[in-house]
Symmetry: C2
Subunit: 235 residues, 2 copies
DNA sequence: GGGCCATGGCTGGTCCGACCAGTTAGCAGG
DNA sequence: CCTGCTAACTGGTCGGACCAGCCATGGCCC
């Protein structure tokens, strides 16, 4: 849908949207706080009010602001309202909320990976299994760069989700991918020295053997191991 | 965020947005098909082009259309792009895709209910457990109307999610709620004669006893039982 | 005749300035 | 002090103009 980082900034509206979004997501503008009026924003950023309005319309659709005729436009009380579209930016910003959400995302990813593996063990056709095996084999190659490993890992996850046929999970996959690609450096560490494709291989073998339980466990273990690095907070 | 059915239709932009959204989601306009030009839409609907543009901006943010300067504005190839915001409308429309997504949503709901129950068994404080018990007790009352039962069920789910502390799950809860409230009649059947709060009670008891496995199983069983009604397709 | 490319007429993007419609805060009167 | 009106905000809609990118058409060159 809406173009991301580079493309988004080619249009006047896109630039303004990005600027305001950063201000909100980074906390420069706090939840509940009122934005300047449309006319003021237009003057400050030297654009037309129509342009400001289009940018605000996007932020509104992202659930980042609430607009009321007559009253001031305010930063939404609960960022993360109904839309997940703003999530990549939120995590990339690295704020408190961003980090928390990043952890939550990892948690869900682990759960869903396990689920997908179980379903795949029941549903996978030979062609899909072969594709998964191929990806797992590529992941096991020595000397893989972190970037390449990450790409393969994502493709593995996506293929697994496709097997389940669940459209919403596919959407979730896309979301995770967006988050990661938005702040790649933050996550590449996971694919460094200590990365191992062992779990993937175990999972695929279990899927081929139609052993749902083992498949699920393998990928849950993988997700758990990937969670250990830097971001770890006390409970 | 954006006002729903009644409120959304009070502004000119809101009415137009709703009209176009219905046309897209219902399949009147097919994926990939080009919309009329902004100028044509403005004339057809007897509104200003600016108004049309604001409506299109919303649909774009929902991921329902793709806009390219110079080229035509088209219905997105893959409805369900990155945004879940259009989902309630999609399910309410009752099209093929809507029904499929409805099933997928149920599937995920079951998975997540079970997960939440397990987490809750580990994390729940006494106050939260008490609140869950209260809700379960209310659900067990005889003579509950389907509407009331549904409301309580949702509150139960939401409370459970809150205990886990996962922000994204909270978002998911909200999404499920939106979908249900958008087409209530479609789902109220689940809370009719055969509805039983037995699973809820079992889950709460297990949570109190810190028995994660039983808690998870209870709610997974509940979700599975709720899945049986009308919408059931061959694989 | 076939292929290349200039161009005109479409598309959306931005700007301007005006007026309508709610909200709110402050002032006047009770 | 409280009430109620009003004026000065806020966002919402309008219209019309021009800029910028895409694309199909048609003429030119090979």
């Amino acid at each position: 849908m809406a173009p991301r980082s580079p493309a988004e900034q080619q249009s006047v509206t896109g630039r303004l949207t990005a600027t305001l979004q950063r201000a909100i997501v980074s906390g420069k503008l706090r939840p509940g706080e009122a934005l300047p009026s449309e006319r003021a924003l237009a003057e400050q950023h030297e654009v037309n009010r129509s342009t400001v309005r289009e940018a605000l319309r996007r932020l509104e659709a992202l659930g980042l602001i609430t607009v009321r005729q007559g009253g001031a436009t305010r930063v939404a009380e609960a960022l993360l309202s109904t839309s997940l579209a703003a999530l990549p930016e939120l995590v990339a910003s690295g704020g408190r909320l961003g980090l928390k959400v990043q952890e939550d995302l990892h948690e869900l990813r682990g759960l869903l990976l396990g689920f997908c593996a179980e379903r795949a063990a029941h549903l996978a056709d030979p062609a899909s299994v072969a594709r998964l095996e191929q990806l797992a084999a590529q992941l096991a190659q020595p000397g893989l760069t972190p970037t390449a490993a990450q790409a393969l890992d994502f493709e593995f996850f996506e293929q697994l989700v496709r097997v389940t046929g669940n459209q919403l999970l596919l959407l979730f996959t896309q979301l995770v991918k967006d988050v990661y690609f938005r702040a790649p450096k933050r996550f590449l560490g996971l694919y460094g020295e200590r990365f191992s494709a062992e779990h993937h291989a175990r999972a695929v073998a279990a899927i081929r053997a139609r052993d749902a339980q083992s498949a699920g466990e393998a990928l849950r273990a993988y997700a758990a191991s990937a969670l250990s690095p830097p971001h770890r907070k006390a409970h």
